[in-house]
Point group: C2
Chain length 248, copies 2
């Protein structure tokens, strides 16, 4: 057996998330189906860097799997890519040591979040950006973003019911760009890890700040209080992209 | 009755084209359903600047319709937009003289065509750009594009079976841009009108020129011979956008 790491992209629109589940089509399941075909019926488990929720996209999700024999990398990539459904793309494949693990060795993750602020909502972005039709003062969002940087207990930005105990994470980068047409925001968050629905709650909070319904200097206090009710709503999944996963 | 002109956008993926037909969902039918709701059950016919085929998109399709009473423009736009399905957007509404006609008074049309030339094909563009995985010499395409300009009989670039007799059209603009990432081509064609499937055959021919299978100086001869068989294949519909319609 040889271990392969692959970087994949997927359009999350028609998936019930990454992780296999009893009901609903998932990315993991489709990749395992592809590998089973390629390996003449042998079952090959796929491990991802983490889950993504229903409707969430990936530009750079990372997986690993063990394959019965070594194959030339480009041939492996091409077979995986073309034999998978068209809403999954396999961008890169490499051989990794047998102790590599796509989930446990994650060093850094980057997510992006797109918000359509045009009027009317673009029909071409309806599955690829969340829509925000209310007035926004982007300066307020820019003022608030640096308050997210650093190491904090992000309990206030974690969906209720999460079983993870330690909610301390470090955010290295939190930025917002506006596209040339002025009708789309692109948020980028880079950190050592993110809690369940954390990016979507961060974006929901930042939009409320831009809309003036949460003060622009409120983030340190929201973090300090460790109370999910103080943060904004969870932004819709269709704007979220797992952009990059880095390993040590 | 007052006549309204509207500029609409639609994602053509889930439509069997613009024009009403016995089987399959169409843009015209959906807009007429919306207007019927708005006008308390009254039937209001919608006229478009022209058809678009199944899977073809519009950024700036123009329609007109007669409405029983005058309404404030933004309220009209908002109602039409929000009461139509989410793959149709209503961008602008204006009042026009009662002799305005969206189809018969067209002065100029602009189409765009997107080609994904990345490897692998982007899952996010699979419905929004045609895919071309073969080698391309873009210089050859740039060399060929100006040969399309001017007034010509475009019989060679018209789908067989078209009932239109006069196949003379004037092309004012024919350009190609490459995006920053270098993985997508954007063709723009502006002219006084285009024949059935003409843009898709033009793009299919230009890609064959870029791939070296049609000489880069062949376009004048292809035009002169008036033979559809000399041009390239019809490019797939998902890359095509009706971009703008201008009136006198």
């Amino acid at each position: 057996m040889v271990r392969y790491k692959a970087i994949i992209a997927y359009d999350g629109t028609n998936f019930h998330g990454f992780q296999k589940q009893p009901n609903g089509r998932t990315v993991q399941e489709e990749l395992e189906k592809t590998l089973k075909k390629m390996a003449n019926g042998q079952t090959i488990p796929v491990f991802g860097s983490g889950r993504t929720d229903s409707g969430v996209h990936a530009v750079g999700q990372v997986i690993h799997f063990d394959y019965p024999q070594e194959r030339p990398l480009e041939r492996m990539r091409f077979a995986l890519d073309t034999q998978s459904p068209e809403d999954i793309a396999v961008k890169e494949v490499e051989l990794v040591p047998e102790d590599f693990h796509a989930r446990y060795m994650v060093h850094e993750k980057t997510y992006q979040f797109r918000v359509d602020i045009g009027k009317p909502r673009s029909p071409f972005r309806r599955h690829y950006a969340s829509y925000y039709p209310y007035p926004l003062d982007l300066k307020k969002i820019e003022r608030a973003l640096p308050d997210l940087l650093g190491t904090h207990d992000f309990t206030s930005f974690c969906a209720a019911g999460s079983s993870i105990e330690d909610k301390t994470r470090t955010i290295y980068e939190a930025t917002m760009q506006v596209n040339d047409a002025g009708d789309e925001l692109l948020f980028t968050f880079r950190g050592n890890g993110f809690l369940y629905k954390m990016i979507r709650i961060l974006v929901g909070t930042l939009l409320k700040i831009g809309n003036g319904r949460i003060p622009e200097d409120a983030i340190p206090e929201i973090i300090a209080k460790k109370d999910r009710n103080l943060a904004g709503p969870t932004a819709h999944p269709e704007g979220l992209y797992l952009y990059e996963v880095k390993y040590e």
